[in-house]
Every structure is written in structure tokens, then in C-alpha cells.
């Protein structure tokens, strides 16, 4: 589903990724491990479009996305739950979830439009962009009005599902997100990401700052999401133990390069991994 080849990314003069390649097969959970500063978050940011890559290619469902903006990538069916959650801390839980659903309906349009646009000539693209700019807003509005009922039902159904995974969120529906506990915030972040009905979920250090029990709970839910809904998951984690427990495949990043790539079983058995990352 996701193919990354020779990705090079930098922050100004500091090169963070020196040619990273990885594959995420559809329906699987892939873990990216590594120490602090290895470039794990950078990899996710480059994939989701927050950071523009210097070189290399990123293909999602066969389509190149490395020069697309983050907003466009979201509409293609990829959801990135960033490091530190990045919730809208002054908005309520419900509002956060609502925002998660923002791109839900853009997906179908976005994907089609993007593919259409890529096939056009330069002049054609300019024309396409101009028409989009002039009428896009109005057309989106019209579509929203037309499909209101259907979207409302869709949204409610999605909300119900999220509340099934995270019942505590239902309780705290109208609470301001900044006042939730760490674990609840992480749940909200994941829930918000799921509202976009992604086919690929990028999770950046979900365990960060959380107590072990809560972390375990969250990882179980992540596994459930993968199993029951078939959502492909790419998770970046420092907690190698937990990550390898739920992942099918794993990559180990060291200072911007892939050091190891294998099934999670083999990684768990490997001497190198055990010593460096599993504390054995």
C-alpha cells in the first residue's frame, strides 16, 4: 500500500533521513523503531506531507504523493496522528472529532480530482486550478448542502464506532480537550484520526508520556482497529516491546538509515535488537 524509496529529508542544513526505503503491505501493522533522533518522526512527517522530501519517492496505493501537500494527502485516505497528539486543546472532544471528519467527504472528490489533474498537460492543469479556485468553494458548499442528510448519518455512525472503541470519550463529549488526561488525549487523537476513514493510519509515538497500563490498552485498541476494520497501520515507537507485539513487520532506524528490516518475530529474536532496544 505504501512504498517509500530512497527518501532523503532535511531540516535546513541538517539532513535527517539519508535514503530510507520501506514497504507497508495492505492490512498489516508495520512498526518503525529506533532511538531518539533516529529520524522516525521525520519519516512520518515526510510521508504525510508535513515535510517536503529532498529526494526519493513515496507511493501510496500506486500513486506518487511526495510532492503533494498534507491536506491533499489526507483526502487520499491517509491519516497522520502526530507526535504529542496535537489536539485542538481549546475545543471540545466532540469538536475535535468533528474536525477529524472534515476530510471524510473530500476523499472521494480529492482522489478523483487529483488523479484527473495529474493526467493533464501543464496548460490543462493551470486551467483546472483556476476553475477550482473560482468555483471550488461554491461547489463544495453545494455538495455539502445536497448531501447533508447522508453526511449527518455517516458522521453519527462513525462517531458511534469511535465511542465503542473509546467509551470514555463518550462520557467526556463536551469537555475541553486540554483538560483530558494523557491517555484520554491519546484516545481522542486516535479517534480523531479514524474519523477521516483512513485506509492507512500513521501513528507517531502513541505511548509517549503515558502510563504502562494505559499504553497497553491503547495498543490493544490499535490492534483491534487493524483486525476488524482492515486499516493498515504504520506505527513509530520507542517502546519496541509493545510495538513488536502487535506489528507484523518492523524496521529499525538508526541515524536516518534503515539498519534492520524484518518480520516482527525475527526482530524480536534478533540479538542486536534484543540488546539495543528490548533491554535484554
Amino acid at each position: 500500500m505504501l512504498q517509500v524509496r530512497d527518501l532523503v529529508a532535511a531540516y535546513g542544513p541538517i539532513v535527517a533521513l539519508h535514503g530510507v526505503s520501506l514497504d507497508v503491505p495492505e492490512g498489516s501493522i508495520v512498526a518503525v523503531l529506533g532511538a531518539n533522533g533516529a529520524g522516525k518522526s521525520t519519516t512520518l512527517r515526510a510521508i504525510s506531507g508535513l515535510l517536503r522530501a529532498r529526494s526519493g519517492s513515496i507511493k501510496f496505493e500506486g500513486q506518487r504523493i511526495d510532492h503533494l501537500s498534507a491536506e491533499q494527502i489526507v483526502s487520499l485516505g491517509m491519516s497522520h496522528i502526530p507526535e504529542g497528539r496535537q489536539l485542538f486543546s481549546e475545543l471540545t472532544v466532540l469538536e475535535n472529532l468533528r474536525l477529524g471528519a472534515y476530510s471524510r467527504f473530500a476523499q472521494a472528490d480529492g482522489h478523483g480530482r487529483l488523479a484527473h489533474r495529474q493526467g493533464l498537460s501543464l496548460l490543462g492543469r493551470l486551467q483546472h486550478d483556476l476553475i477550482q479556485a473560482a468555483t471550488g468553494g461554491i461547489r463544495d458548499l453545494a455538495r455539502t448542502v445536497r448531501e447533508y442528510g447522508h453526511r449527518r448519518r455517516d458522521f453519527d455512525a462513525a462517531l458511534k464506532q469511535i465511542f465503542e472503541y473509546f467509551p470514555i470519550l463518550a462520557q467526556r463529549k463536551n469537555q475541553v480537550a486540554g483538560t483530558l488526561s494523557g491517555g484520554e488525549q491519546q484516545m481522542l487523537a486516535i479517534g480523531r484520526g479514524l474519523m477521516a476513514r483512513p485506509r492507512l493510519l500513521l501513528l507517531d509515538e502513541p505511548s509517549m508520556g503515558l502510563a504502562p497500563l494505559v499504553t497497553r490498552e491503547i495498543f490493544e485498541i490499535i490492534q483491534a482497529i487493524n483486525r476488524t476494520q482492515g486499516v493498515t497501520i504504520l506505527v513509530v515507537e520507542q517502546n519496541a516491546n509493545l510495538a513488536l507485539e502487535i506489528a507484523h513487520y518492523g524496521y529499525v532506524l538508526e541515524t536516518g538509515r534503515i539498519a534492520l528490516a524484518d518480520t516482527s518475530e525475527n526482530l524480536r529474536k534478533s540479538e542486536a535488537v534484543r540488546r539495543s532496544y528490548l533491554g535484554q
Binding site: 498534507a70 489526507v74 502526530p82 485542538f88 468533528r98 476530510s103
Partner: protein, 304 residues
């Protein structure tokens, strides 16, 4: 005593106008934490444009067109002048707005040179049986208030309410609030942050245009007509809390009233009408000491 209430009423009317411009300032501040020093000039420019096109048609017929032009103007400025420095420190963007102030002001006085022009007051209009603007006055208790002033106040409050509803209950409003709080997360939600900013500026310019249209008949249309008002608008916005549209209007009303009362009721030797502005600013300063983010402003909790 009647005089007192008369002063208060006059203050409310003037204050509504300050409040409207303050509302425009707050709109931009909320979405970008930028103080738009060019707000007044943008309103002034739109009003001049309105003056030109009002020759072609009825006031209320042209009104929506004027608002549309204002929106386009605001959006254009965001795209051309603000977008390139977006991401820069706030002070830089403020300097850009100061530059815009200079440019818009100069271009306006160059294009429409000459004596201050008379600008038509909004003509009487009946909507759903209620009379707006027009002559005549209403007697409320001991005071008399003209329909004109009354409508201005209603306009200000109505716009405030509409904006509140927009931000609170519509998806677009929610998206704009989200963008203001956390642009990175907003992008990950698929929100086109750039477009939100443009819309924010367009909205703000529209509100500013309404303020300009209402102020021009009073002070006569000239390129310097909004300069003083802008400062009052900033003061009102700060008083009410820079991220609160309600605060902007309330702040404006308070300033309007306090100005009038200070002018009328303080001893002339060491205060009096000459020091109206100073006393008003002093009051604002005192309020800020007690509520450092304005009356309705939200305390910002900062994480280390």
C-alpha cells in the same frame, strides 16, 4: 439627569462604530495573532470605492456588491502581502500591515484627491415591517435616540451575533477556529489552512467595510477618516479581549460611553474634554491590570 442618559446614548452609538472596526481587528487576530494596522485604511479604501459605484444604483442594491468587493480586497491582500510572510515572527507581519497602511492610505489620497467628500447616509429601509435608518427618533425614557443611531447599534450587535453563530455552529467556522489554534493539526485534518486565512481576511475586510460605510457619513469621506477610529478600535479590542468578538463590541460600547462621560463630567482644569482620550486609555490600562487579557479574553496557558 436626562443629559447623562443622552451622553450615554450618544456614547453607545459612537461605541458601536468603534466596536465594529474592533470586530474586524479581532477577526484577524483570532486567526493569525496579528494586529492589522491597515484595518482602518482598508475600510476607508472600500468606502471610497463604494462612493464611486453608488452613482450607478440604489444604496441598498449596491450594498451587497460593496461587501463582495470588500471581501475580495481583503482576500487579495492576504494572498499578496501576508501569505509570503506567514510563518515569520508576529512583529514582522505587523510591520507588513504598517506598510499596507502606508500604501493604501497614499494610493487612496492620490486617487481621490481633494476636499473631504460627503457620503450618503444609509437611506431608510423597511425589513419585515421594522424601520431601519431613516429620520425621526425614538423616545426611550428621558432620552431621545435617532433611528439612525439605533440602527447602527442593532447592526453592530447583529453582526456580532451572526459571527458568533458562524464560528460556533458551522463546519467552516469550526475549521477556522481550529486553524487559529493549531495550523499543523488542521492540515492533518485536511483543512486548507491557506484558504482559511484568506477567508478570515475577507470576512474581516467585509466587517470593516460596514464600519466604513457607517462612519463616512458622520466624519466625511477623506483618506484620514479612519486613522483616529483605528486607534479607538484597537483600544476597544484590547479592552474586550483580543480573541473575543463579543469583547470587541462591548469594548467599543464602553469606550464610547466613557469618552462622552469623561468629556462632560470631569473638571476642566486638570482633566476635562482635552484629556478624554487619556482618561479612557487610563481606564483601559486599569482594566488590563485586573484582567491582563481583556474582559472576555481567554487566559493563555503556556506549556514550558
Amino acid at each position: 439627569m436626562a443629559d447623562f442618559w443622552q451622553q450615554v446614548m450618544a456614547g453607545l452609538a459612537a461605541g458601536s462604530l468603534y466596536g465594529l472596526l474592533a470586530l474586524a481587528v479581532v477577526l484577524i487576530y483570532r486567526s493569525t495573532t496579528v494586529l492589522n494596522f491597515a484595518q482602518g485604511e482598508m475600510a476607508m479604501f472600500t468606502t471610497f470605492v463604494a462612493w464611486s459605484i453608488l452613482q450607478w444604483g440604489d444604496y441598498w442594491v449596491m450594498f451587497p456588491l460593496i461587501l463582495l468587493i470588500a471581501a475580495g480586497f481583503g482576500g487579495l491582500i492576504e494572498r499578496v502581502a501576508i501569505r509570503p510572510v506567514e510563518g515569520a515572527p508576529v512583529l514582522n507581519i505587523i510591520i507588513v500591515t504598517l506598510g499596507l497602511f502606508a500604501i493604501v492610505n497614499n494610493v487612496a489620497s492620490w486617487r481621490w484627491a481633494g476636499m473631504p467628500k460627503a457620503f450618503p447616509t444609509p437611506p431608510e429601509i423597511h425589513v419585515a415591517g421594522i424601520k431601519f435608518f431613516g429620520g425621526g427618533a425614538l423616545h426611550i425614557g428621558p432620552t431621545v435616540i435617532s433611528y439612525h443611531d439605533l440602527t447602527i447599534m442593532v447592526f453592530a450587535v447583529a453582526i456580532m451575533v451572526i459571527l458568533y453563530l458562524f464560528f460556533q455552529y458551522t463546519p467552516l467556522g469550526l475549521a477556522m477556529r481550529a486553524t487559529a489554534q493549531n495550523p499543523v493539526a488542521s492540515r492533518l485534518m485536511g483543512i486548507r489552512v491557506g484558504r482559511m486565512l484568506t477567508i478570515g481576511w475577507a470576512l474581516s475586510a467585509t466587517v470593516g467595510a460596514v464600519a466604513g460605510l457607517l462612519i463616512a457619513p458622520i466624519v466625511l469621506l477623506s483618506s484620514s477618516m479612519m486613522m483616529g477610529v483605528l486607534l479607538y478600535a484597537f483600544a476597544a479590542a484590547v479592552l474586550g479581549g483580543l480573541d473575543s468578538p463579543v469583547g470587541a463590541i462591548v469594548g467599543g460600547l464602553i469606550i464610547g460611553i466613557s469618552e462622552n462621560l469623561v468629556g462632560a463630567y470631569t473638571p476642566s482644569e486638570w482633566l476635562g474634554p482635552d484629556m478624554k482620550l487619556t482618561v479612557t486609555l487610563g481606564i483601559i490600562f486599569l482594566v488590563l491590570l485586573v484582567r491582563p487579557t481583556g474582559i472576555f479574553g481567554r487566559r493563555v496557558l503556556r506549556r514550558v
